[in-house]
Symmetry: C2
Subunit: 234 residues, 2 copies
């Protein structure tokens, strides 16, 4: 079923990176279809008509079938392609735990990171004012979310991955979300040793694709936050 | 697997209603465990420890297994119980379409309705100021979301349900979300004939449980919006 699978993505989009890494490491053949969010290519009538009616990335297209929303795409790919079973196990309890995280994250980790990133990093680029009080509120929210992630979800290091002993699509989604904070000058790993160890474990497991998908994140991250060197200079 | 299944819910919570209706109409035996959000029963240390670490409703508990997030609970129930297959079909494309809606709705229909409801209806009860400009912005957002629902998701009446010709968990989730706007004095059906027809279809299909779960919504809705009569006066 992988014939003609196209991924529309931008490496500045967290779920785009997660799907790109997932397809690559599972050796699912796909056509790379980059979409430049900075040029608003995702908002053109043609894109909305032919690719994603919601006007967002990521999206997959396979012949007449078009699917948006990374969580839905992950599940579809796990059903339709030969991917390693640990990504989304058959076991009903593990599957429920992964579904629980992927549902919870929308209004939590994803929102915590995205709201901070948009306000602190994107707004100045768009000529919009950065309100100091709002920055403080969003920073508090971000820190609360990441502290919860460290303490409750990673159980202070007593659980190597989000839903047990092996990596899953929940970890890959979460890692790509959390990396985004670095661009806005916030180091999610500072003071959070278990989050740091977990993020390194996700990266190690999925490299070289993880670093490939994060090359712009690494380049845009301010120097006071440590990131891997980016070797290719495309 | 239904032995000892408990549902923790409050009828003021949209996804609680959706799960209550779903379990009832599918004749899955479950123990009713009401949680009074108005008394902050979901925020007690005991509730967080024994039921839902996220401190929210709905949640299911079955012996040692506890699961939060209605989207994850729906999928778990569809795997583990004899529910009619149209709720979450085996067909991979239908399943993908349902997953796509249930992922998309978090930051769209669910957020559109909830933000308006919290600001306009809940804030005054909590003694908080209702900012007129913010009300306008949230109203515009709500109307934009519902117009999109009418036009694109229901295809202006050319599709009876969200993902095709038969009802699914996507419809039930969406209907329970959209009903919430009525409490805040906003009629989602006014000027939207296809949304109105669809909402009636979801209600007809799932009654008497739909009306049972919505009895507080109907009672709290201002009189200028038409709602079914509530017969039981518990």
């Amino acid at each position: 079923m992988s014939r003609g699978l196209k991924l529309y993505y931008d490496f500045m989009s967290q779920p785009s990176r997660a799907l790109y890494i997932f397809l690559s490491i599972n050796k699912v053949p796909f056509e790379r279809c980059p979409v430049a969010l900075s040029k608003l290519e995702h908002k053109t009538p043609d894109y909305k008509k032919k690719v994603n009616r919601y006007g967002k990335v990521p999206c997959i297209v396979q012949q007449e079938f078009r699917l948006a929303e990374s969580v839905a795409i992950f599940r579809y790919l796990c059903r339709e392609h030969r991917v390693s079973p640990f990504w989304y196990p058959e076991d009903t309890v593990r599957q429920a735990r992964i579904d629980e995280y992927l549902s919870w994250q929308h209004l939590n980790i994803r929102a915590d990171v995205s709201l901070y990133f948009f306000h602190v990093w994107l707004n100045p680029l768009l000529g919009k004012e950065v309100d100091a009080d709002k920055t403080d509120r969003l920073l508090q929210r971000l820190e609360k979310g990441l502290n919860y992630f460290e303490r409750a979800l990673l159980r202070n290091g007593n659980q190597p991955f989000l839903t047990g002993d092996s990596i899953s699509i929940a970890d890959l989604s979460a890692a790509c979300e959390i990396e985004q904070a670095k661009i806005a000058g916030y180091d999610p790993c500072s003071g959070r040793p278990h989050l740091n160890a977990w993020l390194n474990a996700v990266r190690d497991f999925t490299n070289p694709y993880y670093d490939e998908a994060h090359k712009y994140v690494y380049r845009l991250t301010p120097k006071h936050i440590s990131t891997p060197a980016v070797l290719d200079e495309d």
